[in-house]
Point group: C2
Chain length 331, copies 2
């Protein structure tokens, strides 16, 4: 990573760079939730106001700035990206039966699973209305393809739950699909809006994809080193029997007795109060967090490298910093 | 209704008229489900192969024929319509906790709610990929708007469950949104494909909307007169506390004692084994089924009238017949 002597920005500094745009995106989000159906506005406001960092729309805003895009379609498309993300969050929390997200009660916990499923559908279809109104055919292709890739990744993840034989390759395919594809699309669409050449659009897509992978790897590591700040309980993935890289690493290296432990806890979901502690001890024994974070750093570095062709600018520094933040955060 | 001396077609005869197109639509459906993620193909095949009549895609095929459309985009858009419909079915069955659909175990019963939610998301996003690849901007507007209208209708329906004060107006708004909007879009897009004038496109949209309302009113009546053929249990809506027109009619006309009965069974969901029988007796007492079916007939008649400007043709007769079938079916 070209981090020598480079001073990265923190998240507040990055937000400051696109603060006017971010305000406009927030207005577009509120406007498009509407108030026709009170339950939709209540639930959407709950989740959209509950402190997300707006990482994905920020990628669109910053890459648009990087590409010197002069119109305002990027604002609507950034809102569209946040709608897709929020829809998947709502459905994810139903699937995972989560009670907390970002330290706040999840929508499904307050409003019920049924409402979460249907409001997720609403936000998802609203995202398509937004992209149709503001995107070219190519942008629609990129965004609709990203949406179906996310869904494929989510289904694949569901089929690997409780499966100790899940390979690294399958895990990487899952996180590339369910997380990185939207990051990639959020970045690439700016190149399309600004009518850049293919190599630039590819570079942006690569930046987003690598960043998304780094982000998810870090998320999956944080699930085992969660602090109170994370706003979610530690070991959620373990309790659900969800297979992420830290566990895959442990299973790869495990002796027979440990294999039996993982099978019992992850495959059979036969867990006692002491098992999370045992899992954490094994994760420590095999340096599984360090290895996961190290891989995340590698992807963050590749994300930064992908921006190599762009001349230095505030937007570029912000995008590089986002890659740093993705792997260095504690929540 | 201009039904004097008119001999309507049955569903098999209608299917025969567009049988080549229907086969192509089925191929497009199978192709677009793909086989990358086995769980997606398994579940999608289960629901898409489980005997639906393909009413909605048939509307697109028949209206395209009516408009003398000569291309093949209508085939892909018909598949897209069926994908949207199937996605909402999957999510509906999760919401309603249904065990049977069309006499076959529901996907959520076999594959679990989680898979149904996520495969629904996949089919929904795939539908957008299909429309982006095959539709003009105007078609995308119509279909994405229909999708978000469906979701709004579904959420509104959820908020009226267990609410005995639900008005006819709210009920009509719900069924127009959740059901008729897709019928309207399925019909209107043919006019757009064939580049017809606005009055023709409006007529097609009206046909679809009225047909959809007639269809849903009949569905809601059939829930209380279901036969074994219906493939679903009688009184499902009652058991869920779902407010449909037959119940609204009864509540409007009820005396105090009956009001208490509806409040207990629908609002408080406090039901004994005898309560469905009591509900059916009240529905009979107030002719609520007859009134519902009569309203359905009125909408079917308006659907047929909307096609008035088209000259007689096989496709027109088929579309008129669909409106007849929508209200005269027993399942």
């Amino acid at each position: 990573m070209n981090s020598i002597n480079k001073i990265y920005l923190n998240i507040a500094q990055i937000q400051e760079i696109v603060s006017n745009d971010l305000k406009k995106v927030n207005s577009i989000i509120i406007e498009n939730i509407g108030n026709e159906v009170p339950m939709i506005s209540e639930l959407s406001s709950h989740i959209l106001a509950s402190g997300g960092k707006r990482i994905r729309p920020m990628i669109t805003l910053l890459t648009s700035k990087l590409c010197n895009y002069k119109g305002d379609n990027h604002l609507h498309l950034a809102a569209c990206i946040e709608f897709i993300h929020t829809a998947t969050l709502l459905h994810d929390d139903v699937i995972d039966e989560s009670k907390l997200r970002r330290g706040v009660a999840t929508a499904n916990d307050i409003f019920g699973n049924k409402t979460s499923v249907l409001v997720g559908d609403f936000l998802f279809s609203r995202s398509f209305e937004l992209m149709v109104a503001n995107g070219s055919k190519r942008i629609l292709e990129v965004l609709s393809s990203a949406s179906s890739t996310i869904a494929k990744g989510e289904v694949l993840q569901l089929t690997t739950v409780n499966d100790c034989n899940t390979s690294r390759e399958t895990y990487m395919r899952i996180i590339t699909s369910k997380t990185a594809s939207l990051f990639a699309a959020a970045s690439e669409i700016s190149g399309i809006l600004a009518e850049k050449e293919n190599n630039v659009k590819n570079a942006l897509s690569t930046y987003g994809e690598k960043l998304g992978i780094a982000f998810q790897l870090t998320d999956d590591a944080l699930d085992y080193i969660g602090s109170e700040n994370l706003g979610k309980e530690i070991g959620d993935d373990f309790k659900e029997g969800k297979i992420t890289l830290p566990v895959i690493i442990c299973i790869e290296k495990s002796d027979n007795e440990e294999k039996i432990f993982w099978k019992k806890t992850i495959e059979d979901l036969n867990q006692t109060d002491l098992d999370l502690g045992k899992a954490l001890a094994l994760i420590k024994k095999y340096n599984a967090i360090e290895e996961t974070i190290s891989l995340a750093n590698q992807f963050a570095s590749e994300a930064i490298d992908a921006l190599g062709t762009f001349p230095h600018s505030e937007a570029k520094l912000a995008l590089e910093s986002l890659a740093q933040i993705a792997v260095n955060r504690t929540k």
